[in-house]
């Protein structure tokens, strides 16, 4: 349980019905709630109200490997889910990060928290984000109504897709109680190609070339002058893809990492180990990959370091730049670790988008009690 503020009550409903009753009561009283799963992923310290965790609403409802479908209650631990899937040779292909090291937390990541944050790691490049694997949700809205949307099947266009809205809404539209996700085969073989002493411009050019091949590069990241490309596959498929990429990138490839080293490296890259153990503000910037080099150069000019993921589509910046300076360089920047910076974490939106988003919030949370202010921009 996260409790960085001793005066806050900690609410741990053990069922969806208890959660609904609790929110209905808070809705009537207009009392805000600070929603969390395991409390490991998002800095919610500035949000007012009692802490409400879904960690006690746990358990896998069904897992059908032959249907590539998992349904789990929101509080189910991510570790438990990943172990269960691994035993069947499957995985959550979107590779959610473990943010504990980065944010200095020690809770237990939950699947509900993963979905609420749309947490998606390096393989998002190939496999899509968490939201692309979300099949259905159950949630409690800001009035205490238990609602559902989507289902458990991979193709479903029945009505409006509210799951997409809930995914990445950080609990501000509703508190997730159950999620249905698509699982995928965990490809058994992998390796990593390492290119050292490259500039950010060279790295993005290398990524662009590699990602234009049909060899399904499943990771393309850059840090400290090294570009890394991950290749996965089924037996000879992996070695074939690796060899074709080696030919394409020769003589630049300086290092070939085996299975074990690949797993370790991409876990580090996924969890941003290089920016852990620091308190400096950390920004997540979405860019068009070809804009990444200029963005990185401009951010580095503010002081600090930047790294790339998603083939250059995601820039991480850790440094002392002010919010205003960072957003001037990178309008799509989100503050992931405050490091003392005040102000909104999310980037400003076009007026029409802001108006529609505010209208949706009034529908889902008319009293404004669910993580109020958390997604302000």
């Amino acid at each position: 349980m996260i409790l960085d503020h001793p005066s806050r009550a900690a609410l741990n409903p053990a069922s969806e019905a208890e959660l609904a009753a609790l929110i209905a009561q808070r809705f009537a009283a207009r009392q805000p709630l600070r929603i969390a799963g395991g409390g490991t992923r998002v800095e919610t310290g500035a949000v007012p109200g009692d802490v409400l965790s879904t960690a006690a609403i746990g358990g896998v409802v069904t897992y059908e490997p032959g249907e590539m479908t998992l349904i789990a209650r929101a509080g189910t631990s991510l570790d438990d889910i990943e172990a269960m899937l691994a035993a069947e040779g499957q995985a959550l292909a979107f590779e959610p990060a473990d943010m504990r090291g980065l944010l200095g937390r020690n809770g237990t990541p939950t699947i509900g928290g993963v979905v609420a944050a749309n947490a998606s790691g390096p393989r998002r490049l190939l496999a899509g984000a968490c939201r692309d694997h979300l099949l259905g949700v159950r949630f409690v809205d800001g009035q205490g109504r238990v609602l559902k949307n989507g289902g458990r099947v991979m193709k479903n266009v029945t009505g409006l897709d509210l799951g997409k809205l809930l995914c990445g809404a950080h609990g501000t539209l509703g508190v997730l109680t159950e999620v249905a996700l698509k699982t995928l085969p965990h490809l058994p073989d992998r390796c990593t190609l390492g290119l050292h002493g490259v500039t950010v411009e060279e790295a993005v050019a290398i990524f662009s070339a590699a990602l234009a091949t049909p060899f399904e590069v499943s990771g393309a990241a850059f840090r400290d002058g090294s570009a890394w490309l991950r290749v996965e596959g089924l037996g000879p498929q992996m070695t074939y893809r690796r060899d074709r990429l080696l030919t394409l990138l020769k003589p630049r490839v300086a290092e070939l990492l085996d299975d074990v080293s690949t797993l370790a490296l991409w876990r580090e890259l996924r969890d941003l180990a290089h920016f852990a153990g620091s308190d400096a503000p950390l920004w997540r910037v979405l860019v068009k990959p070809s804009d990444a080099p200029a963005t990185v150069r401009a951010l580095q000019a503010l002081g600090g370091e930047a790294s790339l993921d998603w083939g250059g589509g995601l820039v991480w910046y850790c440094g002392p730049g002010t919010a205003q300076a960072v957003r001037q360089v990178a309008p799509h920047a989100t503050l992931v670790r405050r490091g003392g910076l005040a102000g909104p974490a999310f980037p400003p939106q076009a007026p029409a988008v802001a108006r529609l988003s505010a209208g949706l919030r009034r529908v889902f949370d008319p009293a404004g009690i669910l993580n109020p202010g958390l997604m302000d921009s």
Binding site: E64, P65, G66, E67, E88, R124, L125, G128, R131, D132, D141, K148, N149, G151, R152, V153, M154, K155, N156, V157, T158, G159, L160, D161, L162, K164, L165, C167, G168, A169, L173, L184, P185, L187, P188, S208, L211, A212, T213, P214, L234, P236, Q237, L286, V287, K288, P289, S290, W310, L314, P347, A350, A352, V353, L356, S357, G359, V363, M375, S377
Partner: protein
């Protein structure tokens, strides 16, 4: 008209038709507004042809600004708008009402940008699905969603219905391949959602928009994710004596870690029709699977060997590998002509429910029983890898009452899909066809919040009203909207 009702047209709007047309003509190029009944008749239905109604007028804009101008006028004059792509909806998504203006995206035909470095294409949404991949071919890329109407259907319609296709087992559906959109809201305001960046920082309005069946806005331009073309692809054909064993084979292939790009299923009724129509040389058996894998020749061989091993353990009546492009085409020939072949047997309605893959055998058995109860023949041809079924119910449109019987049978099948854990529609959309079945999948509050979401975008309920949501449930919203 058969069993599905639409609200009576608003007499006051019909009476104002000349003023409405005049306002549209004043704001748009002369050839962009059609109101002559001879010409509007061409827009009286989509591919759900049992339901027809000519609209008040049709607008054919060429730019986002023209779409916005038309929307603004309809908003100011309180005229319902029915968005239309190529009119290939099987669910009545583009069915007009007599008091509506159709805004069609057909003339928005420009490819705006191909960016292989950042892996996207930007198009006006009147381009057809197939032409997007055709534009990309020379660059070595393709656009993944491939609905079977891809020759005709437009990107606007694909986005509105979140279209899928045979290859979405591996590549996902439209929502997984849509990066950005220019959207005209019902007021005529233009909004940009997403873009060439991967994912929004705020609420995922683009994800909400995709598949919203023209309830929230009209998409005039889109940024689509493009993928490098695979080196090659090859199908295998596997025949089984028993539909349940075929279903088991699908589940075992998926569990094995081989992820085919497509797994298609055809039952015996469909196989016989296809044989007499296309002479594809399919085996005479209870069920055929077509499984396609991709990659280099060696990768394909390896994956096919795995599939052969899995299928072999289930004693198929035939396991046919394609060794070259001609043989591959021969395997796909029957599947691709299935709908045409069924059309030769008579009239049919094509359903679109999805069930969990493990429920396929049970669902097929139950559909057989329902077929006997209703006294109508049914053929099954579908995307088995993701459980998206397309039962085709055969009937005779010239026999009074036959369409109604077929619709009742179809409704029973869709309720069955929901009962076994699936949904009413996997890729065709709700439209008018499944509108009044929504209550079998969703409880009243689940539908109510969806309608409240539409209300945020379209407070006057002018955009494609009386669709998607049960008519009775949406009535208070529609009537409330009229007062705003």
């Amino acid at each position: 008209m058969s069993g599905i009702a639409m609200p009576a047209p608003d007499a006051a709007i019909l009476a104002r038709a000349p003023q409405i047309v005049a306002a549209l003509r004043a704001a748009l190029p002369t050839d962009a507004v059609i109101w002559d009944p001879e010409e509007t008749r061409a827009y009286e239905c989509d591919a759900l042809t049992a339901y027809r109604c000519p609209p008040l007028a049709v607008v054919l804009p060429r730019t986002t600004a023209e779409v916005a101008a038309a929307m603004r006028i309809c908003h100011d004059l309180r005229v319902p708008v029915v968005p239309r792509g190529a009119g290939t909806s099987l669910a009545g998504g583009a069915l007009p009402t007599a008091d509506c203006v159709i805004i069609a995206t057909l003339r928005l035909r420009d490819v705006l940008k191909i960016d292989t470095q950042n892996r996207f294409i930007r198009v006006q949404t009147g381009v057809t699905n197939l032409s997007v991949s055709a534009e990309l071919e020379a660059h070595g890329f393709f656009y993944a969603p491939d609905p079977s109407s891809q020759l005709a259907c437009t990107i606007a319609g694909n986005i509105a219905m979140n279209s899928g296709g045979a290859h979405c087992l591996k590549y996902g559906v439209t929502t997984n391949n849509l990066m950005g959109a220019t959207v005209v809201l019902p007021t005529g305001e233009v909004v940009e959602l997403g873009g060439p960046e991967m994912g929004p920082a705020g609420l995922d309005l683009l994800g909400l928009l995709c598949g919203s069946e023209g309830q929230l806005g009209i998409v005039t331009e889109a940024t689509l994710r493009i993928l490098p073309r695979p080196e090659g692809a090859r199908p295998v054909l596997i025949g089984f004596d028993d539909p349940e064993v075929a279903g088991e084979c699908v589940a075992r292939i998926i569990r094995s870690g081989v992820l085919p790009v497509a797994i298609e299923y055809m039952d015996d009724v469909c196989l016989r029709a296809v044989e007499s129509f296309a002479r594809a040389g399919y085996p005479d058996c209870a069920a055929v699977l077509i499984v396609e894998v991709e990659g280099s020749p060696a990768e394909i061989d390896h994956q096919i060997a795995r599939i052969r091993e899995i299928a072999g353990a289930l004693n198929p009546v035939e396991f046919r590998e394609s060794r070259n492009a001609d043989e591959a085409m021969a395997i796909w020939k029957g599947r691709k002509s299935a709908f045409g072949a069924m059309g030769r047997l008579g009239d049919y309605i094509c359903l679109d429910g999805t069930v969990p893959v493990g429920q396929l055998p049970h669902t097929l058995k139950m559909i057989g029983e329902l077929s006997r109860q209703h006294g109508l023949e049914v053929a099954n041809v579908f995307h088995a890898g993701d459980g998206n079924m397309h039962p085709l119910i055969l009937f005779d449109a010239n026999t009074p009452g036959d369409l109604a019987r077929a619709e009742a049978f179809g409704a029973d099948i869709l309720r069955l899909c929901v009962e076994v854990g699936g949904c009413l529609t996997g890729e065709h959309g709700v439209g008018i066809e499944k509108r009044d079945l929504m209550g079998s999948q969703y409880d009243a509050p689940d539908l109510d919040i969806q309608m409240a979401v539409k209300d945020v975008f379209d407070p006057r309920w002018l955009l494609n009203p009386a669709k998607v949501f049960p008519l009775e449930a949406s009535r208070p919203w529609r009537e409330g909207g009229a007062g705003r």
